[in-house]
Amino acid sequence: LPAKFDWRDKAVVAPVQNQQACGSCWAFSAVGAMQSVHAIGGSQLEQLSVQQVLDCSFKNGGCNGGSPSSALNWLKQTRVKLVPQSEYTYKARTGICHFFSQSHDGVAVKNFTANDFGGQEEAMMGQLVERGPLAVVVDAVSWQDYLGGIIQHHCSSQWSNHAVLLVGYDTTGDIPYWIVQNSWGTTWGNEGYVYIKIGDNVCGIADSVAAVFL
């Protein structure tokens, strides 16, 4: 495994977005993984519609919450093709699902895996390098006050409450850390990113890690 790895260096990670006052992080996390894996596969990096997942993934609760793996499961079962964000823009509120014909262009999920990497964060590094950015859930209670730097303490893995996109890691310094894209805009954290110490399952980052196959 390389000592540091960052999918942003390969221009396959879309810009940081802002979920605004809507509990849609789960949709941003799942769609973020899809659009990156789509770009890794050779397509042009294109932002896909988060609103389509928010409105149509009936097993989730729209702005009231959901889970990335449940969204990926819905996409896998229904073979729904995600359209570009430009065709179905983000509104920060749950709306009526827009349906598109099967002939309409879009990106479908062929399969996905969701695993607990607790105690196996080195294997998780390998999964990231091999599969592309990963949709993960964390305990982000202390992120309300986060300004930057590497989170090492006081970020329990008591309960998962937020979903984000794991895009890289860096083990070259004193404290090895994950590089995580959040969906709270670029004014939060490190221009929208948060760094989390690797090892000890800080913030519960290894509890539920989803990789996408398109």
């Binding site: 607990d116 196996q120 309300q144 986060y146 998962s160 937020h162 539920s208």
Partner: protein, 71 residues
């Protein structure tokens, strides 16, 4: 009247936030350790913040077995 009530409430949340920052920053002084402080969420109560932004859940995921599975 309402706005001064609201102002008082937000000011209280802000004060709570600064106490949290002091606690969280006390954990580590390592150069690259996380820093906590005033940001766009500082005048939200912890409950408001949780209700607005922490709405994800995680389905129980099987332990990674190291096998190369396709899901």
């Amino acid at each position: 009247e309402v706005s001064s009530e609201e102002f008082k409430r937000r000011h209280l949340y802000f004060q709570d936030a600064t106490k949290r920052h002091e606690f969280l920053n006390s954990f580590s002084t390592a150069p690259r350790a996380a820093k906590y402080g005033i940001n766009q969420f500082s005048d939200l109560s912890q409950k408001e913040f949780r209700d607005l932004y922490l709405r994800a859940s995680a389905d129980r995921a099987p332990l990674f077995s190291g096998l190369k599975t396709e899901g």
